[in-house]
């Protein structure tokens, strides 16, 4: 147990990183989810198709595979692309002279940081689940409310901001809460692509102190703390929003 105290500071740093990744992914997920829901509810076949493809593909592929695909695969794709672009510019600039000097006009190696890749992947995955949540919530808003807003002479933008969005949020809150709890647990996967989050730190500390169980149980309890606080907050928010409207 003394070992745990020595590592407490660095473990808490990892915990902070986990929270950062989770919150930033949530932000991205809510944004993508709103876009996805609006696209699904739009009358355009094209947008509907894109959104349906998005949510279907995400539901079919595990988060870990998507993360590995975006982090490792994406890196190789980006670099291959920038290499061939460089090659093309070189050939054009030298007038197809095979003995030309090769210059890197574009950065010839781009490193995607695991921090960014993790946030993008998790946000992208949960955007699909959020889209389903928001879609249901938008549909749950009573038609009469929207008609009343139109009768008051609100334009489309005002109708969305004043009536649609606040009422939709009330219906979406339980779904957002559930998605957030799953998202929080999914952040543990960023340790696999090398981010120094608390799972990675616990693994390293457990290895060097020969007490892996102690460290993993410690971070399990930290996760439990996060999920407990989150569900309390969401329960509070749900109660608050239902009282306000009734």
């Amino acid at each position: 147990m003394f070992e745990l105290q020595n590592y407490l500071g660095i473990l808490l740093e990892g915990a902070w990183l986990t929270i950062q990744v989770a919150l930033l992914s949530l932000l991205l997920a809510v944004f993508l989810g709103l876009l996805g829901a609006l696209a699904k509810l739009s009358h355009s076949v094209f947008f509907k198709g894109i959104a349906t493809l998005y949510t279907t593909i995400i539901r079919g592929i595990p988060d870990l595979i998507l993360m590995l695909l975006i982090f490792f695969g994406g890196q190789v794709l980006v670099n291959n692309f920038s290499y061939s672009l460089n090659e093309w510019i070189n050939r054009m600039a030298s007038g197809f002279d095979p003995t030309h000097e090769w210059t890197a006009y574009l950065p010839d190696y781009i490193n995607i940081s695991p921090y960014i890749a993790g946030i993008i992947t998790i946000g992208f995955i949960f955007g699909a689940y959020m889209a389903e949540t928001f879609r249901g919530a938008f549909l749950a808003v009573e038609k009469g409310q929207l008609e009343a807003a139109t009768a008051y002479g609100m334009n489309k933008y005002k109708l969305f901001v004043r009536v649609m969005f606040p009422q939709m949020m009330r219906h979406a809150l339980p779904g957002i809460g559930n998605n957030w709890l799953v998202l929080l647990k999914t952040t543990a996967l960023v340790s696999v692509i090398g981010l120094q989050d608390m799972v990675k730190i616990a693994g390293d500390a457990g290895g060097s102190t020969q007490q892996p169980f102690t460290f993993y149980i410690a971070i399990a309890l930290i996760f439990l703390f996060f999920t407990s606080v989150s569900s309390l907050l969401f329960r509070w928010a749900e109660r608050k929003y239902t009282i306000k409207t009734r």
Binding site: I57, R59, G60, I61, P62, D63, L64, I65, L66, L68, L69, F72, G73, G74, Q75, V76, L77, K185, T186, T187, A188, L189, S191, V192, V199, A202, G203, G206, Q210, Q211, P212, F213, T214, Y216, I217, I219, A220, F223, L224, T227, S228
Partner: protein, 224 residues
């Protein structure tokens, strides 16, 4: 992009697919044996009975599956009780640790589904069955089980999908499931995009087959 890698190594991927299927299927089956008693105990009024079931479900539903797997796979070695007895024979095997972690995890989630089904069982149906003079076992067979199964099925099919997706982490602890196969192929060819893309396609086929099968089953139940 060179997808001939996937064609060259398809047997390797198929072996991974088979590992994923049996690992998930066995976990789900064993998880059901954990979930039924835990779900029933959790529905009790008495906190002495409810408490342990509640704690078990709270822990396994509140922490990431990856941490649970690491806790068992790496953590078990810390205890002499495990290391110096016959238990070590099992705990040193990655497949056993993954099976144990997955079983306990899906057991906890499924127990929550069972608790939900029990707490929302329509009383009038049971009373009607009693009024018809059915025995306890008849009520269980004719009313309780079909009714609960029908209401639990959509949630349980979601749980199966989550388990298939969650099982991808088995590839991290040396098991050659679909993810593990993709990792080995990537290491061999250094073609991460192609390697993981192949894995993604396989998972997608597996997931949608399961969703399709459950849709069929659910419609069979609702048609009656």
């Amino acid at each position: 992009m060179d997808f001939s890698i996937f064609i060259n190594e398809y047997q390797f991927y198929l072996a991974g697919l088979w590992t994923t299927i049996w690992l998930v299927a066995l976990s789900l089956l064993l998880g059901l044996f954990v979930a039924v008693p835990v779900g029933i105990l959790r529905s009790s009024e008495n906190w002495l009975i409810k408490g342990p079931a509640w704690s078990f479900m709270y822990f396994f539903r509140g922490t990431p599956l990856l941490v649970q797997l690491f806790l068992i796979y790496y953590g078990a070695a810390q205890f002499d009780l495990i290391r110096e007895t016959w238990l070590w024979h099992y705990f040193q095997e990655a497949w056993f640790c993954a099976l144990l972690a997955f079983t306990l995890n899906t057991g906890a989630y499924t127990a929550e589904i069972i608790r939900g089904v029990i707490s929302t069982m329509p009383k009038a149906e049971l009373e009607a069955a009693k009024a018809y003079g059915m025995s306890e076992s008849q009520i269980l067979r004719r009313i309780t089980l079909p009714n609960s199964l029908r209401r639990a099925l959509p949630a349980y099919s979601n749980e199966i999908i989550f388990m298939i997706h969650g099982s991808a982490i088995a590839g991290i602890v040396t098991i050659v499931d679909i993810t593990g196969a993709a990792r080995v192929v990537n290491a061999r060819y250094y073609a991460p995009f192609e390697a993981y893309f192949g894995a993604a396609m396989l998972y997608m086929c597996l997931t949608f087959s399961v969703i399709f099968a459950f849709k069929k089953w659910e419609s069979h139940y609702s048609n009656r």
